[in-house]
């Protein structure tokens, strides 16, 4: 087996933190005082009990930061980085802490820069259809704001109600509507970023294309290891003329999978194409009435957008594809309220899993979409083999699975079985021509699995870019790449932590 089963705690070797290989001589108290001088005494968190909430993000890992700094502006962020750099202290950027791969967790002895105070929408440019924002702006807040101007921000990731745009950039976040519109990287035009030593750079611009190496492109999705975005310009899209949402009801997963292939095979790329399996339907209906039939084997949620003529024509093709592949019912929603009800189920699913089991662990594999049937069969096999309940709510249209292992960690040995099952699924996705993560990132969670996908040389080539941006590797050290220092996953404690609106 290529991967290491996590056994130790998150460790970062001293070389990863400081090129000199030693810690700064500055005492923590003095360091905290220096941080306070930059941002003000109220905005440095350093008492252990106050730090508790910064110990984890949405992932399975935990790591207590030495301090958390909340800058008010770019200058404070830059000076904080410069100070940390001088003192040899590693830094992790933190948006809302909703990430699922450990991206926002501090390295041991490291600090977090939290962007909750930098949450202003600075400008909406209706002429050029762009918005310029601070990194702490919440994804849904931006979208809601720009809708007043007849526009929208297309990427709609997991915890859209809670996650920040800065975090979206770090992870190259996706979401249901990325099927048609692409992920975060396709929507970021420009960024001002702070490097590990506090140097500020402008990546990209208001212009959609600029000459030189595409630093903006390679920065997005670098999981906070290249720099920290402090000011962001994103592209907005005009609102479509017509939106139509379909609920396809299927007797089983296999027929729902063939419907996915049939839709895509008809040459249709919907705005969104999501699948919700029987277990998830039951969970959803336990907490809300999304109108999903409780005896269905699976439902597909399909959204079409565009000119009225396009949507009208494609609708008929979608409907016939659904019926031909064995749908027992097809419902269509055109009114906003009806559409929202259908989406409510999708968006409530992860919170609703709490009605089935107290703990969950989510896998983010991605496969070529024609392999969905096979991979979902594998999911059932794994479920049986390890005795773990697995629910599936996922982005079927782009082959991005989210098998969710549900269990009660008080049951002896169940946690290890869940992790082993997750590992087997990740391996299988890669075997099927897929990859480890579609939208959640590698972080701490999956770094030991990277050798399943990339050779040592592939990863060394990636590190060449990190070495250019962050030669001292002070930003988010110990993430993404395997380092032989595996970690102990501590698992999502209670489902109540998940935002009820979270959909992943």
């Amino acid at each position: 087996m290529l991967y290491h089963r996590p056994t130790g705690s998150l460790k970062v070797s001293s070389e990863q933190i400081s090129p000199q290989g030693k810690w700064s001589a500055v005492q923590p108290a003095q360091f905290v005082e220096s941080l306070k001088e930059i941002v003000g005494a109220d905005y440095v968190i350093f008492h252990p009990e106050d730090l508790l909430v910064y110990e984890y993000d949405g992932s399975v890992d935990r790591s207590m930061p030495r301090a958390v700094v909340l800058p008010a502006n770019e200058d404070e962020a830059s000076r904080t980085l410069a100070l940390a750099y001088r003192e040899g202290v590693p830094v992790a950027g933190r948006g809302s802490g909703t990430g699922l791969s450990g991206g926002a967790l501090a390295a041991p002895g490291g600090i977090q820069i939290s962007f909750t105070r930098m949450n202003r929408i600075l400008q909406v440019d209706t002429e050029n259809r762009t918005a310029t924002i601070e990194p702490g702006v919440i994804n849904l807040d931006l979208d809601t704001h720009v809708r007043k101007f007849g526009m929208r921000y297309a990427p709609d990731p997991s915890s859209q109600k809670a996650c920040s745009l800065g975090g979206n950039i770090a992870e190259n976040a996706g979401g249901p509507h990325c099927l048609a519109y692409g992920t975060t990287t396709n929507h970021v035009l420009g960024m001002r970023v702070a490097l590990e030593d506090g140097t500020m750079l402008n990546l990209g611009a208001e212009a959609r294309e600029i000459p030189g190496y595409d630093l903006r492109g390679v920065f997005v999705g670098s999981e906070g290891t290249f720099g920290i975005a402090t000011r962001i310009t994103v592209r907005l899209l005009p609102l479509p003329e017509t939106v139509k949402t379909f609920l396809g009801v299927f007797p089983d997963i296999d027929s729902a999978c063939s419907a996915v292939s049939a839709v895509i095979g008809h040459g249709i790329v919907p705005a969104a194409l999501e699948m919700i399996d029987a277990l998830s339907i039951r969970a959803v209906q336990n907490v809300t009435d999304a109108g999903y039939p409780e005896d269905a084997g699976a439902v597909l949620l399909i959204e079409l957008e565009g000119l009225w003529e396009e949507v009208d024509e494609v609708s008929r093709e979608v409907e016939s594809a659904l019926w031909e592949t064995g749908a027992s019912d097809v419902r269509v929603a055109e009114e906003d309220s009806e559409r929202e009800r259908l989406w409510l189920g999708r968006k409530t699913a992860f919170g609703a899993f709490g009605t089935i089991a107290p703990n969950y662990y989510l896998v983010d594999g991605v496969v070529p979409r024609t392999r969905l049937t096979q991979v979902l069969r594998k999911v059932s096999e794994v479920s049986e083999k390890y005795g773990i309940t697995i629910a599936n709510v996922f982005h079927a249209g782009d082959g991005n699975l989210h098998p969710c292992m549900l269990f009660d960690e008080r049951e002896p040995g169940v946690k290890d079985r869940a992790m082993a099952g997750a590992a087997e699924l990740m391996e299988y996705c890669v075997e099927m021509g897929g990859s480890l993560s579609g939208e959640h990132g590698i972080g701490l969670e999956k770094k030991e699995f990277m050798p399943l996908v990339y050779t040592e040389q592939d990863m060394d080539t990636m590190k060449l870019v990190r070495d250019a941006f962050a030669p001292a590797n002070r930003l988010n050290p110990g993430k993404i790449f395997p380092d032989g220092e595996p970690y102990e996953p501590s698992l999502q404690r209670t489902p109540a932590q998940a935002d009820p609106g979270m959909y992943v």
Binding site: M200, L201, P211, G212, D214, L307, P368
Partner: protein, 444 residues
């Protein structure tokens, strides 16, 4: 024909005479290479790179050579690396909407193969029978449909690149959504062969269906044309591509254009027939309300033909402009940019008011002779000033080697702090400086 240079002889010994081509008639910006290597396969390519790295031989990767005027004047051209034999389709999965192909495949061949499965790759290029996938990626080329189709960076999902040690490394994969590791695909796209040799790339595809239509709408003035286009582009029924061309360009394309200061708006529309009909109808109505007189609708064949000819125009070997600049700027500034430009004789404009790009082209009028370099330099200077004032940047894409020797074609495009990161990237990827040295921004 003899293999005169030592480099050619060494290459021949290394990979066989079959993989070494004559240098006659081959040049890069007027500089004749010492050798042209055409590796038969990836193994040979790897051997050539290892040899070059060991001996400090400078390699200039080339696909179809369509964009070979792009970049600063190379100080010395050792070997042009012709990648045309690396042209296989490695994996095409129509139902997954993905394809993986070697970089030397031409866009025309790739399109034809993809059409067999009713798919297409939304890449654009002039002279698609020559332009290769590798060349399109290396230059990051985009065409008249960039407003709706985006750029090559938006479609690439994976790449294999031969690095300075001759070994291939992989980034991304064959799935349409992937955040596993750094997105080096973005870095390679537009890097002009300075980080390695792109050997293979994977792309997301789009379904091929529906029809095309077009519209050529003459306007009495360039600014009227740009303003009307800006209005149109913000509508839900906007065309997929909208270009404003000046008189000289219109003439080259055989289109009627009123007066000496007029312009023509070209709209390209694709999709399902009913939607195409509506977009065409609404576009015509809106452009006419904005001051166009006598617009002409184009059918599918007419629209596609015009789109191809427009894309090819600046890159036709038999009628190359002597000067071509590409300006990118915020879309709302396109109007101010064209208003501020005073065009010398023989110069024309192709503006993309939806995306925010302007191509400025000049075909040197006959009889200008020696006085021309001064005009050319003055024009470059004024375009740059103009672009910079409007939050944009300008790249000289085509210019006579004599003029190029005195300028940096990327001048003012990249700030010093950003350039420093680019320098480090180049240094880390290509420590021996063997990949297209001197061509890129900052003479990387």
């Amino acid at each position: 024909m003899t293999l005169t240079s030592t480099l050619a002889q060494n290459l021949s010994a290394l990979v066989g005479a079959d993989a070494v081509l004559p240098v006659e008639g081959v040049s890069l910006d007027g500089v004749t290479p010492q050798a042209v290597a055409r590796p038969a396969d990836r193994q040979q390519l790897s051997e050539i790179i290892k040899w070059a790295a060991a001996d400090g031989v400078r390699l200039f990767p080339r696909g179809g050579g369509v964009f070979s005027s792009l970049g600063n004047l190379p100080s010395q051209v050792d070997v042009i690396l012709d990648l045309s034999r690396l042209n296989r389709i490695m994996d095409y999965q129509p139902a997954d909407l993905t394809v993986t192909a070697e970089a030397g495949i031409t866009l025309a061949t790739l399109r034809r193969e993809l059409a067999q499965g009713d798919k297409y790759v939304p890449l654009e290029a002039p002279l698609p029978h020559r332009a290769t996938v590798g060349g399109i990626l290396a230059t990051g080329f985009s065409g008249p449909l960039r407003f709706s189709s985006g750029l090559p960076r938006d479609w690439i999902i994976g790449a294999c690149v031969a690095g300075s040690d001759g070994a291939e490394t992989r980034a991304g994969g064959r799935v349409v959504k992937n955040v596993t590791g750094y997105d080096l695909n973005k870095l390679y796209t537009g890097s002009l062969g300075t980080l390695g040799v792109i050997v293979e790339a994977s792309f997301k595809l789009a379904p091929l269906h529906g029809t095309w239509a077009g519209l050529a709408a003459p306007f009495p003035s360039m600014s009227g044309a740009v303003n009307s286009s800006r209005e149109l582009i913000s509508q839900v029924y906007a065309p997929q591509g909208l270009q404003v061309i000046s008189v000289d360009v219109a003439k080259k394309l055989g289109l009627d254009c009123p007066g000496d200061s007029g312009a023509v708006v070209l709209a390209f529309i694709s999709g399902r027939p009913r939607a195409v009909a509506r977009r065409l109808e609404e576009s015509t109505r809106q452009l006419e309300a904005g001051g166009s007189a006598g617009s002409e609708a184009l059918d599918e064949a007419g629209a596609r033909d015009l789109l191809d000819r427009l894309t090819d125009l600046p890159w036709l070997e038999e009628d190359m402009p002597s000067l071509a600049l590409k300006v990118t700027l915020p879309p709302s500034n396109v109007g101010s940019f064209v208003d501020a430009m005073e065009l010398p004789p023989g110069a024309g404009i192709i503006a993309d008011p939806g995306f925010g790009a302007v191509q400025l082209l000049r075909w040197t009028p006959a009889g200008l002779g020696d006085s021309d370099p001064g005009v050319t330099l003055a024009l470059i200077e004024s375009v740059r000033r103009n672009a910079t004032n409007l939050n944009g940047s300008a790249v000289v894409e085509v210019c006579p080697p004599g003029v190029k020797a005195g300028i940096d074609v990327w001048e003012g495009c990249v700030g010093e702090a950003e350039l420093e990161i680019m320098r480090r990237i180049k240094q880390n990827f290509d420590p021996a400086g063997i990949f297209s040295p001197g061509r890129f921004v900052g003479r990387l």
